[in-house]
Amino acid sequence: MKRLFLAIFIVFFIPSMLFADDVDEGLSSNTPLRIKESARQVIQLGIKDQAVIKMTRTMLENNFSQEQVIAGLELLIKTKKQNLSEDPVINKLHEGIAKKVGAENILQAMEKVRSRYEVATTYVQDMKTDAERTRVLTDQMAECMAAGMDKNSINKMMEMLQQKTRNASKDEAYSLNENTLKTARTMARSGVNSKDIVDIVNNAFQRNYNSAEMEKLGNAFMRQVRGPSPASDLAKAYSAAIKNGATADNILVRSTTGELGNTLDDRAPVGSGGLGTTAPGSGPGGAAASGSGIGAPAAPDRGSGGAVAPGNGPGSPAAPGSGSSSGPVKGPEGAGVPPVPGK
């Protein structure tokens, strides 16, 4: 009799224990099998199981339909199969959830991110660099696009770069590509239109700016854009100055002494407003520092480190112009998202 029970135990329980994987453990038992299967497929492609489970759970908790959850996971499968970075796509989901955006719009935004990286990869493939450098350049290129650079302008910039780096060594070519993209990204993020960015890059190349000078140019622009002058005016002044022979070194000197005209202003004091200069490494959506030590400062009057308050999340994004007194945030097309207390 004992043996019979043992046999039954082995036949029925051991296999189910063996097949209970991270997906079964991470997702609730009433999660549809199709979703679990999709999640497993994503994990099998090499994406971290905890990231996939967190993503799946987040979608389920935020009223995504079964089809929408599967669409989100399939998007990740597509991203991975194209050898694109999956972190920005996953981050976009969490960002959309935090902003209380609807499921369909989140999926569309995730697809936009994937698509940007796909286009960026196509451009960067022509640059013939190693894997790590390819990743850096792809991030920068995708970020240029996210900052608003249009395809036509990127095409022009890439043509100029190809011409400039034709006879350069691999290292020199990479360095010029990287610093040019960084400078273009800085300008795009400051609100300079694509055409003006291309003009600046074109004029700089006409004046034989090298990689270090392109970097200085971007840094100088970032410091000066903190002043009151609109970024577009500053860009036009830069373009004209370079055309007239200003170097990356004296463009800073000229601007700080006002020789470029009234539109230029020196930077705000350190730490008092604008954000820093460009740096290599991950862009937005890049490094996820989990357990990252983010918190409100220990305030003597509060005596706490200000850790995240679980379940005390923020509400939804404001409808355009609905009471935020801060930056000029443009609202989505169509109806805005009403504020929700969320506490």
């Binding site: 993020r189 705000a268 490494g281 609202g331």
Partner: protein
Amino acid sequence: MMKILMTVCGAVIFLSGCVNNYYYQVQDDKLHIYFNEPKAGEVFFLSSLDQFSPHETIKNKRGIWEITVPSGLSFEYFFIVDGTFSIPTCDQRQKDDFGFENCIYIPED
């Protein structure tokens, strides 16, 4: 002493009616971000550093909201002020694919 001086300088810049409603300060491996929303009752900070998880900020004695994050990494961020999406008057920003924009922090070289 340096911290106090920098904080006072930053506060003077907002109060002088300058363009920015925020400033930041890097100290060792920490980045302190200050956001001036005097009428807000509650301000959360969200960033790409940790997949946009909400972090409560603390209102300091000068009425400025304060958050500390690791320095050295670039990231996108925004605030939720009393349940409402908000970004400061940062000069580096990027469209977020939802019809809004996020601020971008880039560490100094």
